[in-house]
C-alpha cells in the first residue's frame, strides 16, 4: 500500500459515523445546547478534521495495520529486553467481554466483585512468584512502576525523618534508562555503577558509594547483557546496612520464574511488566501494567486503593496510612491484569518454571550460534547468560564498514525486528536478542540464518546492506535534520502544511 495521510482523504460532505440523535422533545425543551453557551466559550469554527466515509477510514487503518509488524507475525526475538512472547488469543477474547469493557471504575463494589476477584487473585499469584507480600496494579507501565518505587523510597525516608538527608539513588549502567530517569524525577541524585571487566556489577564500586545519603538501590538482574549477578544478595545487604531500600526491576523476569525470587535476593520491592513476563500484548506501546510488589513493611506506602478480601467480599482498601497517594487514575489497566492472571492460570507453577527454563535454553542456543557468525561477538564472555544477550558487530564493522543500524534496516527485508541497544552504546555496534520461551528451534534457526546471510552480504556485497531496506513498505528515510531542526520538524500534518507545503508553494511562485 502507498497509503496517503488521512487528511488527504478528505472530501467535504462525507460522513464516517453518525452521533446518536437527541430526542426531539428534549430539543424543544432545552434548545440547541449551543446558543446559551457563554460567547467566549463557544467554538468559532468547527475543527478542521477531515470528512471521510466510513469504508474509506476503515480501509486506511486496515492498510496501516498491515504495514505494522506485530509480534503475531514474525519471529519476534530481535527486540531484546522488550521481546514479546506469544500472546494467547484466548486472553484477548476474554478481555473483550462486556462484563469487563463496560465497567465504570466507580461502580458500587457489590457490582464489580468479579473484576476485584481477578485483581486479588493475581496479587496472590504474584506474591508467590516474587516472595513479596502485597501488590498494586496501578502503575501502567515499567517507568511508572519505577517512579512509584522511587516515590515509596522517598516517603519511607520522610516518614522516618530522613527525607532530606537521603538524596542519592544508585543504579547500574546496564539497567534500563528509566531506572535512573524516574529516580531523578523524584529529585534524587543518581549514582551509576559501571561493570567490572567481565560484565558483572562491581560490589567494590557499590561499597565505595553507599553512605548515609543513600536512599535506595535499583537494579535489573540479569541486566541487559543477560548476565546474572550471583552476588545480588550481598549488594542488597550492603545497601540495607546503610539504611537504604533496594528495589528490583523485574520488568523482564522470563528466565527466573520459579527459579529465583526478589525475596531471597533481599529486595524490598520489585515490579514485573505484565506485557513482558506475563504475556500481555504491548499494543504499539501501551496501555500496560507494571505490577509492583512490596514487603509487608512497605504495604502502607502503596498508592490507594489496593484490593483486599474480607467477609467473603472483595473491596477497595484505601486505609494505607502512609500512602504516596495516587499514581494513576482509578485502578489501573484491568484488561491486562486479567490477561496476566489468565496466562498464569494456563501454565500453573510447573508451566511457569518451564517458561523460564525454555527461555534460558533458547537464549543459550542462540548465544552459541550467533557467536559463530562472522563478525559477531558477545562481550563480557566470562559471564554466562540467562534469558538475553547483548551482542556486538564490532568486528564486522571494522572489516566491512557495515554498522548495526545498517543491519537493522536490512533485517526489515527479512520481515524481522532487530533492536540495537539503549544509549549509551557501551557495547560497540550492539544488538540485543531475547528469544523467550515462545519460539521453536525452527524459528530461532530462521532468525539466525537471516543474520548469517546479512553477515555474508556485508563481507561480499555491503551495498545491499547499506542501502537497505530493499523491499520494505518504504525506502530509506532521508533524515538530514528533519527530525532535529525546529524549522524543519513537523510533528503534525498542520505543521507540515505550514513548514513544507506552504514553503514549496511560495517558492514555486
Amino acid at each position: 500500500w502507498n497509503e496517503p495521510i488521512i487528511f488527504e482523504l478528505h472530501q467535504k460532505g462525507e460522513k464516517g459515523v453518525e452521533v446518536p440523535p437527541v430526542d426531539e422533545e428534549i430539543t424543544q425543551l432545552v434548545g440547541d445546547g449551543i446558543s446559551d453557551l457563554p460567547l467566549e466559550m463557544k467554538r468559532k469554527s468547527k475543527a478542521a478534521l477531515p470528512e471521510i466515509g466510513q469504508a474509506r477510514v476503515l480501509r486506511h487503518y486496515l492498510r496501516l495495520s498491515q504495514e505494522t509488524l506485530g509480534s503475531d507475525f514474525n519471529v519476534e526475538i530481535g527486540q531484546g529486553t522488550c521481546t514479546m512472547k506469544y500472546i494467547p488469543k484466548i486472553n484477548e477474547f476474554l478481555v473483550r467481554d462486556p462484563k469487563l469493557t463496560e465497567l465504570h471504575p466507580l461502580q458500587d463494589e457489590s457490582t464489580v466483585q468479579g473484576i476485584l476477584e481477578i485483581f486479588y487473585k493475581l496479587d496472590l499469584c504474584m506474591r508467590e512468584i516474587s516472595g513479596m507480600d502485597c501488590f498494586t496494579f496501578q502503575p501502567s507501565g515499567g517507568t511508572q512502576a519505577l517512579y512509584t518505587m522511587a516515590s515509596i523510597v522517598r516517603k519511607y525516608h520522610e516518614v522516618r525523618g530522613e527525607g532530606d538527608q537521603r538524596d542519592e539513588i544508585i543504579t547500574t549502567i546496564f539497567s534500563h534508562p528509566s531506572q535512573a530517569a524516574t529516580a531523578a524525577v523524584k529529585g534524587y541524585k543518581i549514582i551509576t555503577l559501571h561493570p567490572d571487566e567481565d560484565g558483572f556489577p562491581d560490589i567494590e564500586k557499590l561499597k565505595a558509594v553507599v553512605s548515609e545519603r543513600t536512599a535506595g538501590f535499583v537494579v535489573a538482574n540479569p541486566e541487559d547483557t543477560g548476565i546474572f549477578n550471583g552476588k545480588i544478595n550481598e549488594f542488597t545487604k550492603v545497601v540495607h546496612d546503610v539504611g537504604g531500600l533496594c528495589y528490583y526491576d523485574q520488568a523482564n523476569a522470563n528466565g527466573l520464574l520459579g527459579i529465583t525470587r526478589a525475596k531471597e535476593a533481599g529486595f524490598d520491592m520489585c515490579f514485573f511488566n505484565l506485557h513482558k513476563t506475563f504475556a500481555a500484548p504491548h499494543m504499539c506501546g501501551g496501555p500496560a501494567t507494571g505490577a509492583l510488589g512490596v514487603i509487608e513493611d512497605l504495604k502502607e506506602f502503596l498508592p490507594t486503593a489496593i484490593v483486599d478480601y474480607k467477609d467473603d467480599k472483595y473491596y477497595l482498601n484505601d486505609e494505607l496510612p502512609h500512602s504516596i497517594g495516587k499514581i494513576r487514575a482509578f485502578h489501573g489497566v484491568a484488561q491486562t491484569v486479567l490477561r496476566a492472571y489468565a496466562w498464569i492460570r494456563a501454565l500453573g507453577a510447573d508451566g511457569l518454571k518451564e517458561v523460564a527454563k525454555t527461555a534460558v535454553l533458547n537464549n543459550n542456543y542462540m548465544y552459541s550460534k550467533v557467536r559463530k557468525i562472522k563478525g559477531a561477538s558477545a562481550p563480557y564472555i566470562k559471564g554466562s547468560r540467562l534469558e538475553q544477550v547483548r551482542y556486538s558487530w564490532e568486528g564486522l564493522t571494522k572489516d566491512t564498514g557495515v554498522t548495526t543500524e545498517d543491519i537493522q534496516r536490512r533485517m526489515t527485508d527479512f520481515g524481522l525486528h532487530y533492536w540495537t541497544s539503549h544509549h549509551p552504546y557501551i557495547v560497540k555496534q550492539p544488538f540485543t536478542l531475547e528469544p523467550t520461551e515462545s519460539y521453536s528451534k525452527q524459528d530461532l534457526d530462521e532468525y539466525i540464518s537471516a543474520l548469517e546471510q546479512i553477515s555474508k552480504e556485508a563481507y561480499e556485497n555491503p551495498m545491499i546492506v547499506k542501502e537497505a531496506p530493499q523491499q520494505s513498505t518504504i525506502h530509506q528515510l532521508d533524515e538530514q535534520d528533519f527530525l532535529d531542526h525546529p524549522e524543519k520538524w513537523c510533528i503534525t500534518w498542520r505543521a507540515y502544511q505550514k513548514k513544507v507545503i506552504h514553503k514549496q508553494k511560495s517558492m514555486s511562485k
Binding site: A47, I115, E128, P287, T358
Partner: protein, 462 residues
C-alpha cells in the same frame, strides 16, 4: 509418562531440547542456571492453582466476570474522569487488529503503519485542540497534567505552581506526587455558587515565582470556566504559563483553551473511542505550540513526518529524540516508556470517523441531554440540580442536602432500580455537603433520564 508439551512453549519437546543442549554443550537446562548460587535459588514449588486448558480457562474466567454488573445492564450516571460514550465499531476493529495489538517498538520501516497511525493521531488531535504539537499519549490525564506542569517549570525555571481547587482531587494527588519534591503547590479558591475561579484569590497568589496555573475546563465539577481570557491576561503579566486540562469531547462546541490563551493543553483521550474497562481506557495527551522551548521539554516521544529517498514518499521518525530519557537516562526530560499508544491510534480513528460535524454534533447532544436531565431534576422536590448556576458540560452537581438522605443511601437505593447514581462528592468536597456528580452524555436516551427522574422521585418521596 512423558511430560506434557504446553501449547505456548514449543521447545518443551525433549528431542529438540536434546539437540539444543548439544549445540550449547551442556547436559541439562538446569546447568545453565549455575550462575545462580544455590542460596538464591527458590526451593520447592510455587503454590499456585493448577493449570487449566483453554476451555476450562474460558469457562472459569467468564464465570468470574459474570459476577460483575455492567453499564449495559444498569443505566449509569457515573463520570468523574471516566465516561460512557458511543464507540464506533470501527475503533474496536482497528485496535483489536492483531498487528496493532502485538506491535512493540519496531523501526520506521517494518512498523511504518504504526508510525503513520500515531503521527495521524497527533495531527487529528492537533486540529481539535488547535495546537501544532501533540505527543504520543501518556498514561492518563493526571500524569499528562503533572508532566505539563513540570514542563512549564523547566521552561520558566520557576518552582511554584498554582492549582484551581476544583481540579479533580485524584488528579491533584497524581500531580503533587509527580511534582514533589521539586515543586511547590498552592490552591486557588472557587466561587461557591458558580464554581468559577476566584480571581481575587488568583491575583493575590500570582507572582513572578509562579511557573504555571493549572485549571480544568470543563471542570471536574462540570461547570464551564468562562473567565479564560481574563485569567490568561493576568498570568501573562507575570510571565506565568497557563495550563488547561480539557475533556476533548467538549471541543466540538467549546472553544479550545488555545483560543483563550493556554500555553499547554492536556487531558484524557478516553472519551474518544475507548471503552471504560474499569479505568483501563485512560490515556493522557499534551499539546503545545510548535516552539522549540516547548518541544524540547516534552519527555514523550513525538513522531514527525519526513521524506524518504523515494520522491513523494512519506516516512516517519522520532523528533528530537535526544531530549528523551531513552537517550539521556537521568539527564533526559523526566522519563519515557510504554504508555498508551494503542489508545492514541484509536482516538485518531475516532476523530477521523467523526469529522468536524460529528464532533460538533456529539458536543451538542451531550449539552442537550444533560440540560434536560438538570431541568427534570429541578422538578423533584428536595433536589437541586444543578447546584452551580453556571453553564456546564456533560457533568453537573446534584444537591441532595434538602432530602435528609445521604448520597450513599440514595445510590444504594438506585441500585435496586438498576441505576448507578452519580459520584458521591461528600468526601472530596465536604463544603458541598451531600452532593453528587452526575454525568449525562450522548448515549443517554430520554427514557434513561426519565427513568432516573422517576426512580429518584420515588426514593425521595418514600
Amino acid at each position: 509418562m512423558s511430560q506434557k508439551i504446553h501449547p505456548y512453549i514449543p521447545n518443551m519437546v525433549p528431542e529438540i531440547q536434546e539437540e539444543m543442549l548439544n549445540e550449547i554443550g551442556v547436559q541439562s537446562v538446569m546447568e545453565l542456571y549455575n550462575c545462580i548460587p544455590k542460596e538464591l535459588q527458590f526451593q520447592g514449588n510455587m503454590d499456585l492453582p493448577k493449570p487449566l486448558t483453554e476451555y476450562e480457562l474460558r469457562r472459569y474466567i467468564e464465570a468470574i466476570l459474570q459476577k460483575n454488573i455492567n453499564t449495559k445492564e444498569y443505566v449509569s450516571f457515573l463520570g468523574a474522569g471516566c465516561w460512557q460514550h458511543f464507540i464506533p465499531a470501527v475503533c474496536d476493529e482497528i485496535n483489536q487488529r492483531s498487528e496493532f495489538l502485538t506491535a512493540y517498538a519496531g523501526e520506521p520501516y517494518e512498523d511504518h503503519g504504526r508510525f503513520q497511525a500515531l503521527f495521524e493521531y497527533q495531527s487529528l488531535l492537533a486540529e481539535l485542540v488547535d495546537m501544532d504539537v501533540v505527543n504520543v499519549p501518556t498514561f492518563d490525564w493526571g500524569q499528562a497534567a503533572a508532566t505539563s506542569i513540570r514542563m512549564a517549570a523547566r521552561i520558566t525555571k520557576r518552582k511554584k505552581v498554582l492549582l484551581a481547587k476544583t481540579v479533580a482531587p485524584e488528579r491533584t494527588k497524581i500531580i503533587t506526587n509527580y511534582g514533589s519534591p521539586d515543586l511547590e503547590f498552592e490552591f486557588i479558591d472557587f466561587q461557591l455558587e458558580s464554581g468559577l475561579m476566584n480571581l481575587e484569590d488568583l491575583i493575590v497568589k500570582l507572582s513572578e515565582d509562579v511557573a504555571a496555573l493549572y485549571f480544568e475546563n470543563p471542570s471536574y465539577l462540570g461547570f464551564i470556566e468562562s473567565q479564560g481570557e481574563t485569567i490568561a491576561k493576568l498570568l501573562k503579566e507575570k510571565g506565568v504559563l497557563m495550563i488547561v486540562g480539557v475533556d476533548p469531547i467538549s471541543l466540538g462546541i467549546l472553544a479550545p483553551p488555545s483560543h483563550y490563551g493556554a500555553d499547554i493543553v492536556c487531558g484524557d483521550l478516553q472519551p474518544l473511542g475507548m471503552h471504560m474497562n474499569f479505568s483501563g481506557g485512560q490515556a493522557g495527551f499534551i499539546t503545545t505550540r510548535d516552539e522549540v522551548e516547548f518541544v524540547q521539554e516534552y519527555p514523550s516521544r513525538l513522531f514527525g513526518i519526513i521524506p524518504t529517498i523515494q520522491k513523494g514518499e512519506y516516512g516517519f521518525g522520532d523528533v528530537a529524540y535526544d531530549r528523551t530519557s531513552f537517550a539521556l537516562r537521568e539527564k533526559g526530560k523526566e522519563s519515557v516508556g510504554t504508555q498508551t499508544a494503542l489508545w492514541g491510534i484509536t482516538a485518531g480513528v475516532y476523530l477521523a470517523l467523526m469529522g468536524p460535524d460529528g464532533m460538533s454534533d456529539v458536543g451538542q447532544a451531550i449539552r442537550q441531554n444533560s440540560q434536560y436531565a438538570v431541568k427534570q431534576l429541578a422538578n423533584i422536590k428536595g433536589i437541586k440540580g444543578s447546584r452551580f448556576r453556571s453553564p456546564f458540560f456533560k457533568e453537573f452537581i446534584v444537591d441532595f442536602n434538602e432530602t435528609d438522605m445521604t448520597v450513599k443511601d440514595i445510590n444504594q437505593k438506585l441500585l435496586q432500580y438498576k441505576i448507578f447514581g452519580g459520584k458521591d462528592l461528600s468526601i472530596e468536597f465536604p463544603e458541598l455537603g451531600q452532593c453528587a456528580l452526575y454525568c449525562v452524555t450522548e448515549i443517554h436516551t430520554k427514557e434513561d433520564i426519565d427513568r432516573l427522574i422517576d426512580s429518584l422521585t420515588e426514593i425521595i418521596q418514600k
